[in-house]
């Protein structure tokens, strides 16, 4: 039975909405059913429905999806813009907006990227900001705001500062111990470049100084302690950031500067500026500029210097460049010895020299004015630079170069005390021990120096070449083409040497020999003499005179007991001398050729002993072509306690 219109109008409100919903649903259904057969008809139905149900989000989003399926990006943008205007609270809308923004960021969806590009700029901005505000994760938030600021530089002045503060605040809250954390990385590498370069953030210079501090600390750590492959760009990025901040703070600009400025170019500009600042009365030169620029130069120079010395110092590296170290050795007669130095690597050499000089000059500038020194110390305390091993090692070299061994030693001791806490790489530990050995030697603390050499012998690898006579020969300083003095420091006795046992052994032998000789001067001990003989075989006939002196002493003493003799003496000249002494009976020799003890020494046994002696001599003579280096290395490795106790005989000074 049909109902009249009058009755139909009396309905409870709830079902009126149902009816409307049904009708909307029906129209939508008709439209959808035609999407494949007649898209224009489908569109017409949707358009009509939108005017009947203007409050319906569903219809609008359907229209959007229809156009999206048809890949009609301009229409999509138009529709989406309307939806954004009229239905800004719908979650489904924001889900779609997220997809659009992601497509724009990552270029993973060309259509959606195009749609976003077609939206009016105001809408794009509103969408990015709206999306960002609902995001909890700071990194995500920053990424979105960076997208906003990169696309629309005019928004930088409004949002730039807030983002930096949020990142700083989050970093503090999360309380990471590592400077290279995600907050700082975002701040320094992504956010600051955008706002310092493009934006007028309207902040005081104090903010820029704070940002410079954050960035400097960051890049120093990033360059030296991170796995990221991009760490190589650290100082370039720092340089750029500095230049933009310099513009904002209206610092003096170097009119000759270019993108290819070397570190010394920049240093020379700083040097000029510094010089001018000393007589500057009316504040034309900005001291802050000098302060911050110099610190950056210092860290860049120091970290680069260490990297040039050892390409593997910050990370495992398949570089074929060998690591170098600067150690001090003085030869006998005060003649400095040189190692062949860095072979054929003149660029590396000149770069190293450049880095050193710049670092040194920067350090000096920072310590030439009280306020600089105070502020710099404040920063290094805050940044805990005592944990930056590369920096401490650079300073050690600096001190050593200046002959300031005490300062070098105290720094090295401080570093050593932190080794357990910091757990640096093996290469770094070796370097530290090596420097300790060298510096202690310069201070004539022979015993401690030798102890460190023993540490190194157990740390560093050594390959035995039993049939080789190869040994790294030391050459006198006077030979010009072999002179590869790396750095013109106050101490010409500071040399660059490859950080390997093979190359350091000559110097260590020297140390041991010097130590033993100094003991020998005040004490008469066969062990000392015996050790000297063994050591003197190295790089024969370099230490020949030492061995001659010992042999003379033997004869004077008329007795000599040393049970390590036949284990380690193979040098033919020495053996001949001993044989001569034996024959001449100028000295009673007890060289303990075999381990078994003879309880009694009888005449018959003496002859036996003699026979054993000569056969041992013959045996050793046959070994005379063995590598002396191998021998000495083995000897040192196996007799640490015995040797040390010899050196300790004399009271340490």
């Amino acid at each position: 039975m049909s109902a009249s219109i009058g009755e139909l109008q009396i309905h409870c409100p709830a079902s009126i909405f149902d009816m409307a919903a049904n009708q909307e649903e029906w129209i939508l259904g008709v439209s959808k059913s035609q999407t494949d057969s007649d898209i224009y008809s489908a569109r017409s139905w949707l358009l009509t429905a939108k005017t009947i149900f203007p409050q319906s989000f569903r219809l609008q989003i359907e229209e959007y999806h229809l156009e999206l399926r048809k890949k009609n990006t301009e229409e999509c943008a138009r529709v989406l813009n309307e939806i954004y205007r009229d239905f800004s609270n719908e979650p489904q809308l924001w889900k779609e907006i997220e997809l659009l923004i992601e497509a724009t960021e990552k270029s993973n969806d060309d259509f959606r990227k195009e749609i976003f590009d077609h939206l009016p700029p105001i809408t794009q901005q509103g969408m990015i900001i709206g999306s960002a505000e609902s995001v909890v994760n700071v990194a995500h938030y920053c990424r979105l705001m960076l997208l906003l600021m990169n696309k629309f530089p005019e928004t930088i002045s409004k949002y730039g500062l807030a983002i930096t503060e949020k990142l700083v605040e989050t970093e503090r809250r999360v309380a990471e111990n590592n400077t290279v954390n995600y907050c700082r990385t975002l701040l320094v590498r992504k956010v600051l470049p955008v706002i310092c370069r493009y934006g007028n953030v309207g902040v005081s210079h104090k903010h820029f100084y704070k940002w410079l501090q954050k960035a400097t600390e960051f890049y120093a750590c990033f360059f030296t302690a991170s796995d990221d492959a991009e760490r190589r760009e650290s100082w370039t990025e720092m340089s750029k950031l500095l230049s933009w901040i310099a513009m904002r703070c209206e610092w003096s600009l170097d009119s000759n500067s270019s993108d290819n400025d070397s570190i010394s170019d920049r240093m020379s500009f700083m040097r000029d500026l510094f010089r001018r600042s000393r007589t500057d009365v009316d504040g034309a030169v900005n001291r802050k500029q000098i302060f911050y620029s110099t610190i950056i130069l210092l860290f860049e120079a120091a970290s680069t210097y260490m990297l040039l010395l050892d390409p593997s110092i910050y990370e495992d590296n398949s570089s074929t460049d060998q690591p170098y170290i600067h150690i001090c050795v003085v030869g006998d007669q005060g003649q400095p010895q040189t190692s062949p130095g860095m072979q054929g690597a003149s660029k590396r050499t000149s770069d190293l020299r450049e880095a050193y000089n710049v670092g040194k000059e920067a350090w000096n500038i920072l310590h030439s004015i009280d306020s600089f020194e105070k502020d710099f110390n404040h920063l290094t305390r805050r940044w805990k630079c005592e944990r930056w091993l590369w920096f401490q090692l650079f300073l050690v070299d600096l001190h050593n170069m200046d002959g300031n061994y005490k300062a070098a030693l105290s720094r090295l001791n401080a570093v050593e005390s932190k080794l357990q806490e910091l757990c640096p790489r093996k290469e770094v530990i070796s370097r530290i021990y090596c420097l300790l050995a060298s510096t202690l030697y310069s201070l004539e603390k022979f015993q401690e120096s030798c102890e460190y050499i023993f540490q190194l012998l157990s740390h560093l690898p050594y390959t035995y070449h039993p049939n080789s006579e190869q040994v790294t020969r030391l050459l006198p300083l006077g030979n010009p083409q072999n002179h590869d003095l790396l750095l013109g420091g106050a101490q010409p006795s500071l040399q660059s040497v490859v950080l390997s046992v093979e190359d350091l052994l000559p110097f260590w032998v020297h140390v041991f020999i010097s130590s033993l000789e100094s003991v020998m001067r005040s004490v008469e001990d066969d062990q000392v003499l015996g050790h000297l003989i063994i050591l003197s075989q190295y790089d024969w006939p370099r230490w020949k005179s030492q061995s001659s002196r010992v042999l003379t002493r033997l004869v004077e003493k008329r007795s000599f007991k040393f049970d390590l003799f036949f284990q380690y003496v193979i040098n033919i000249d020495i053996l001949e001398e001993i044989a001569y002494i034996k024959n001449q009976e100028t000295c009673k020799l007890n060289l303990k050729q075999n381990p078994t003890e003879r309880a009694h020494v009888t005449r018959g046994v003496n002859r036996e002993a003699d026979e054993e002696f000569w056969s041992a001599m013959k045996r050793n003579a046959q070994r005379s072509r063995e590598s002396a280096a191998d021998l000495v290395h083995r000897y040192l490795s196996e007799n640490r306690e015995v040797i040390l106790s010899c050196i300790n005989i004399v009271e340490p000074r």
Binding site: M19, E24, Y40, S41, S44, L47, T48, T51, I52
Partner: protein, 417 residues
């Protein structure tokens, strides 16, 4: 020799006209309109002696030169008023002399202007079309349709391109087209001994393509006569508004008719396909008018600026001007009734009736929501009452709150309210 003489005399006369119309303010009495017209007919159209003669007096070459000269002149003359006065002086249909002949020349001139993208000529033609009696306008339009949709293979794209340099011409062209092709006749006729559909009331495939292209590309095109109403147009239209049979201001009514009636297109129009410029697919008549309908809905949605201009009074000074009046809607319902199959109160699903009524509903809904059609709910209900009820019509007429009568057993459409 003769040609040069002709060209020179044309140029001279045009210069004369120019000086007359330029100085009109100061020299209103110094020329005689009749004398001027006489000279025009004599020199330009070479009509001699018999005033009503329509015989061709110019050689084809002279015709070509005339058209060329005129085209060039119109394009160069920057003063719109002077330009139009000269145009009108030559081609006004208000005087009888050499009527048809002048009309032919005009057709050729406009035809050339389309392909040479001469916006100045087309603007003059548009205003001429708006202020001239419909039969002459239709004549011009049909000759252009012949030139561009029938004779040439790719002529349609030239015509389509007019939207880029003379939207007003396109608008007037649409008005003329929609007023001529009424889509009402379903007669048959004999052609070569075979009974075929009489297609004289129906635009051809290519023409439909042009229309849908224009509407989709720029919906606002339908309002440019209203929104770009300048002093010249206002003056001319006001002067001719008493003309009994001139074109309306916008094509809205005509296009609404087309959208609603095209579902009833004769079978012989439905099979052929054409390839449009915009897409590689082949489109049928149905697909084209579906696009046109969607385009028209977008036209309705783009009506705000025109409504604003009307309300401000800047369109012919009449703030009550209706873009689509109730009377026009009523007339359309009447047409639709005569086209529909009356045996079903509710149209069969998929039938032409259903499509037509649904389209009417869609157009009305959007027109009412945009205030293009100023109609209360009650008024619309009574207006649409005679029509067969589709569910969509019910929703549009009675609003979303009214349960659709389709759901219930079919009821008599009540006529007593």
């Amino acid at each position: 020799m003769n040609q040069r003489k002709y060209t020179n005399s044309v140029q001279e006369l045009i210069r004369n006209l120019e000086s007359v119309f330029s100085n009109q303010a100061s020299a209103s009495a110094s020329y005689s309109k009749e004398a001027l017209i006489s000279r025009i007919d004599d020199v330009i159209f070479k009509q001699r002696g018999d005033w009503i003669s329509s015989q061709q007096a110019l050689t084809p070459l002279e015709e070509l030169e005339l058209i060329d000269e005129l085209g060039l002149y119109l394009q160069e003359q920057k003063h719109e008023y002077v330009r139009y006065r000269i145009f009108e002086a030559l081609f006004s249909m208000a005087r009888e002399t050499a009527l048809e002949y002048r009309r032919d020349i005009l057709s050729k001139l406009v035809s050339l202007a389309i392909v040479s993208k001469s916006s100045a000529t087309l603007e003059c033609a548009a205003l001429w079309m708006k202020s001239t009696e419909k039969s002459h306008v239709v004549h011009l339009v049909l000759s252009l349709v012949t030139d561009y949709c029938v004779l040439q293979q790719n002529g349609a794209s030239d015509l389509k391109a007019c939207i880029d340099f003379s939207p007003r011409f396109c608008c007037i062209f649409l008005i003329a087209l929609t007023s001529h092709y009424t889509m009402m006749s379903s007669e048959k006729c004999k052609e070569g001994g075979i009974i075929v559909d009489d297609l004289k009331d129906w635009p051809c495939l290519r023409l439909l393509d042009i229309v849908q292209h224009w509407l989709l590309k720029d919906p606002a095109i339908c309002y440019c006569t209203a929104t770009q109403m300048d002093k010249l147009w206002r003056t001319v239209i006001k002067a001719t508004h008493s003309l009994p049979d001139s074109l309306s201001l916008t094509p809205l009514d005509g296009l609404a008719s087309w959208c609603v009636k095209t579902p009833f297109a004769p079978m012989s129009l439905l099979a052929p396909v054409i390839t449009t410029d915009e897409c590689a697919e082949n489109l049928t008549y149905s697909e084209l008018h579906s696009r046109m309908h969607y385009g028209f809905l977008k036209v309705l949605l783009a009506s705000k600026p025109a409504l604003k201009a009307i309300a401000k009074g800047s369109v012919l000074g009449n703030p009550d001007l209706q873009l689509w009046s109730k009377q026009q809607a009523h007339a359309l319902v009447g047409d639709l009734m005569s086209l529909c199959n009356h045996s079903d109160a509710i149209p069969l699903s998929g039938s032409a009736d259903e499509l037509a009524v649904d389209r009417f509903s869609q157009i009305s809904q959007i027109a009412m929501s945009m205030r293009v059609l100023n109609c209360t709910k009650d008024q619309f209900q009574s207006l649409s009452d005679p029509l067969p009820k589709t569910r969509l019509l019910e929703i549009v007429a009675y609003g979303p709150n009214r349960r659709s009568s389709i759901d219930e057993t079919p009821m008599e459409i009540s006529t007593n309210y």
